[in-house]
């Protein structure tokens, strides 16, 4: 089959932040023998090609052009799948004044999609019929496997994967106060830098960005595991995504600093991540 990612709704800055979401889907489909293309130009392939969209309809022109295209009965048949990465009930995302209309426009889009693939088990079944809804579990992909640095050269003790906000900064300061060398990917670094930082790190820290968040980030955990990183995950998710903790050194928020200190000083800190990747490659 031919899958075409139409990513114009993320152009420009947003494209820099979705690599960890898009590339596993692209290479997972290719591993199954499908043809996958990506584009931002308006020409879209007709049925039987599948146009894949990644949810982000914060702005009216994006949703309006999508609805107009799907409503135009004079056009040849098309097929659209929508990948949803966010918790529908996360107010920080869906009711954020910087992204006005994001939730409302997503709900408007659902009826015009042939299928929906959520990657977090939020309440999508309340809006999308079961026959058009399939959960997409992230897992191991050989094409995205990367190697980190030799143990002796790992000069970063803890790498924060994501942006630094007040919640994460408190942990960062706790780690620094314990004498660890801490760095951060800052949320929007190109992969040539982020992968370099990850390769140098003994530990990759996966923390939720705010207290109300209830789902972990499968794309972040999987990106780190693909590189054989030893991931310290904040333990809070009780959903089906919880299986990802099996491949991390998961612990409660209050224990993160001590856990990182212990692990960073452990002689097998790098080997733990490599072993976790092997389990991840066999189990997912």
């Amino acid at each position: 089959m031919h899958f075409h990612f139409q990513l114009a709704n993320h152009y420009y800055g947003g494209l820099s932040q979705i690599e960890d979401i898009v590339t596993p889907v692209v290479w997972g489909l290719r591993a199954l023998g499908h043809r996958v293309t990506m584009g931002i130009l308006p020409q879209l392939p007709n049925w039987p090609s599948v146009v894949l969209l990644l949810e982000y309809f914060a702005y009216e022109p994006a949703i309006n052009s999508f609805l107009a295209w799907r409503s135009d009965t004079s056009l040849p048949r098309s097929c659209v799948g929508l990948i949803c990465t966010e918790d529908l009930d996360d107010a920080l995302v869906m009711n954020n004044p910087e992204h006005p209309g994001r939730r409302e426009n997503l709900l408007r889009a659902f009826p015009y999609c042939d299928f929906v693939w959520p990657i977090v088990p939020s309440g999508y079944d309340a809006y999308v019929n079961a026959e058009r809804l399939a959960f997409l579990d992230y897992g191991y992909i050989d094409a995205l496997r990367l190697e980190g640095w030799p143990t002796a050269q790992r000069d970063i003790d803890v790498l924060f994967y994501g942006s630094i906000n007040e919640r994460r900064r408190a942990v960062m300061e706790g780690l620094t106060a314990r004498g660890l060398n801490v760095a951060a990917t800052r949320g929007a670094l190109p992969s040539y830098i982020a992968r370099n930082l990850m390769g140098r790190a003994k530990l990759v820290l996966d923390m939720k960005r705010a207290d109300p968040v209830i789902y972990t980030s499968p794309s972040r955990i999987c990106a780190a595991l693909q590189q054989g990183a030893t991931v310290v995950s904040e333990l809070f998710d009780t959903s089906r995504l919880r299986f990802l903790y099996d491949y991390t050194e998961a612990c409660e928020f209050g224990d993160i600093v001590e856990r990182c200190v212990d692990l960073a000083r452990s002689p097998d800190v790098v080997e733990r991540g490599l072993a976790a990747r092997e389990r991840f490659s066999r189990g997912t």
């Binding site: 990513l7 420009y12 800055g13 494209l15 820099s16 690599e19 898009v22 590339t23 692209v26 043809r35 293309t37 990506m38 584009g39 931002i40 130009l41 496997r145 990367l146 190697e147 980190g148 640095w149 030799p150 002796a152 050269q153 000069d155 760095a183 800052r186 929007a188 670094l189 190109p190 992969s191 040539y192 830098i193 992968r195 370099n196 930082l197 390769g199 140098r200 590189q227």
Partner: protein, 318 residues
């Protein structure tokens, strides 16, 4: 990206491995995407020589004997001010400036949107221990310019990528479309070709996919009157086995890269692109060009030539 991490394994075996640290504060955040074509080949070449390459921002400035590499665009003077402070302090630091623009190009250095770009570059050169320029322009006329060396971009085996995707894009415009390339883009579309563009800001995972699908990568100058071709663009496409079609504008040392590209002028580009795209020969042309590029050029060897200053002997011994 995998290459950067994998190469570092070899540095453990080399007693004379140096650390090169790209200090990219002045490009954070979206500018970092635009300089990937500059940083990654240099990082890859250094890695193939057994050196360690790291990236950092802000106060992450390792002291001597690490080499801090600053990629030019100092319109905001903060990082140059930081260089000056650190150079004046008690601890020794080493800084290198990577130039990537023609210093005589008024669109870059006399651009009212970046009024301090040239002035701060000149300041940075006086503070830097050395510099590498990927376009061979007249740095020697500037104070500190005598420490600049031409860094010729070439083949790095770690960047070689054998595309497995069907080449279903006829022509890819690599870079911003702008007023000079857009008519060519439209003309090709009018001739029935499938044409795409990287628009200058698409992230690498996206651009690399487009290159792998392209029969032809168009290397057309962004404006009339440019003196230099863009080595980063040609090299990125060649490493992925794409056929490069280059506008012949450069008569200097960089023109050597035309050996690996199909020559065109702005006037015959459309006809030539249509003919090559429809000939079915584009993949073969691209593969042959890459093999020639691999035999005749080397990013690692170029870096060695650019490290002939006594400073590097001192660094290697440190």
């Amino acid at each position: 990206m995998p290459a950067v991490a994998a190469r570092s394994r070899r540095t453990a075996e080399s007693g004379r491995a140096m650390r090169f640290h790209f200090l990219l504060t002045n490009h954070f955040r979206y500018g970092c995407f635009r300089i990937e074509d500059i940083c990654v080949p240099i990082a890859t070449g250094l890695g193939e020589l057994g050196h360690i390459v790291t990236y950092g921002f802000d106060d992450d400035v390792p002291p001597w004997p690490a080499v801090n590499l600053l990629v030019e665009n100092f319109n905001n003077p903060a990082v140059v001010d930081q260089m000056a402070r650190l150079k004046a302090g008690p601890q020794r630091y080493c800084f290198g400036v990577v130039g990537h623009e023609d210093i005589a190009d008024a669109a870059i250095f006399d651009n009212p949107s970046f009024p301090d770009r040239r002035r701060n570059l000149e300041r940075a050169l006086t503070l830097a221990d050395f510099g590498w320029t990927i376009v061979p322009c007249e740095y020697g006329a500037l104070a500190g310019g005598e420490r600049m060396r031409f860094l010729e971009f070439g083949y790095a085996r770690s960047l070689r990528h054998n595309a497995s995707l069907p080449r279903d894009i006829d022509v890819l415009f690599y870079g911003e479309l702008g007023g000079r390339r857009l008519p060519l883009f439209n003309a090709l579309v009018g001739r029935g070709l499938k044409v795409e563009a990287s628009f200058g800001l698409l992230p690498a995972f996206f651009v690399q996919d487009l290159i792998d699908r392209a029969k032809i990568v168009a290397d057309i100058g962004r404006a009339d009157g440019l003196r230099f071709l863009t080595p980063t663009r040609i090299c990125a496409a060649l490493h992925r086995g794409a056929t490069v079609m280059s506008e012949q504008i450069d008569r200097g040392p960089l023109a050597k890269l035309y050996r690996y590209a199909a020559p065109v002028t702005i006037d015959d580009f459309v006809e030539t692109a249509v003919a090559v795209a429809q000939s079915g020969r584009a993949p073969e042309i691209g593969q042959k060009a890459r093999e020639l590029f691999a035999v005749e050029t080397s990013m690692a060897a170029s870096l060695l030539r650019a490290m002939t200053l006594p400073l590097f002997a001192e660094l290697a011994a440190a």
